[in-house]
């Protein structure tokens, strides 16, 4: 029962964050929302009895993707200094 409550809440959160990520005007907010989707997806993988996939998603799919996105964003922003 606990698993079901947790899974339903995380699924709701993931969908809300996905809509934020697509709909929001700001790129930074969209990227952070994508990172949070990855982190909650890894909790969902854990609930679905896949710890290997959860660890891969937490490390690669969420962490490194966010870092790469921010490096690219840093290269193309207007510098006023």
């Amino acid at each position: 029962m606990m698993n079901m409550i947790l899974a339903l809440s995380f699924e709701l959160i993931i969908l809300v964050l996905a809509i934020i990520a697509i709909h929001n005007k700001s790129l930074k907010i969209a990227i952070i929302a994508t990172g949070v989707i990855g982190l909650f997806a890894s909790v969902l993988y854990l609930l679905l009895a896949a710890p290997d996939v959860a660890m891969t998603e937490a490390s690669i799919g969420s962490g490194l993707t966010t870092i790469i996105f921010f490096y690219v964003l840093n290269k193309i922003r207007k510098t006023n200094d």
Binding site: N3, A7, L15, A18, T34, D52, V53, G61, T65, I68
Partner: protein, 124 residues
């Protein structure tokens, strides 16, 4: 009703919904980086739905340790093959994302714009 309120079914619905949201972003947004974000969301949705296919009710992760009865593994474990598939798919996903972002940087160098409507060279 209760037959649909299972872990694997709701996860499958979430995965499909994420795929549709990602496709929506992929098709309607004009910003190049937004398109890459849509792709990343599509990727996550696909992985979630494959993993939800491998889940079997009331079973646990396919790793043998002290808390597992090693002779009865066939009735205790979920399917390990989709998990191995998704594990590699996530790593490929980050490689593809990095490649797309490198293309975006290169395109930005040419036209100084992130709007997809300013790249009309190959449009017909």
């Amino acid at each position: 009703m209760t037959q649909y309120l299972t872990l694997e079914f709701t996860a499958m619905v979430t995965g499909f919904a994420l795929m549709i949201i990602g496709l929506w972003g992929l098709l309607t947004r004009k910003n190049l980086i937004k398109i890459v974000i849509g792709f990343a969301i599509f990727d996550t949705g696909l992985n979630i739905s494959i993993i939800s296919m491998s889940y079997l009710k009331n079973r646990t992760a396919p790793i043998i340790d002290k808390s597992i009865d090693a002779s009865n593994t066939i009735n205790l474990f979920v399917d390990p093959i989709p998990q191995a598939l998704v594990l590699t798919s996530i790593v490929i996903g980050v490689g593809v994302t990095a490649l797309m972002l490198a293309y975006v940087l290169r395109m930005f160098r040419e036209k100084k714009s992130l709007d997809i409507n300013s790249y009309t060279d190959l449009k017909w």
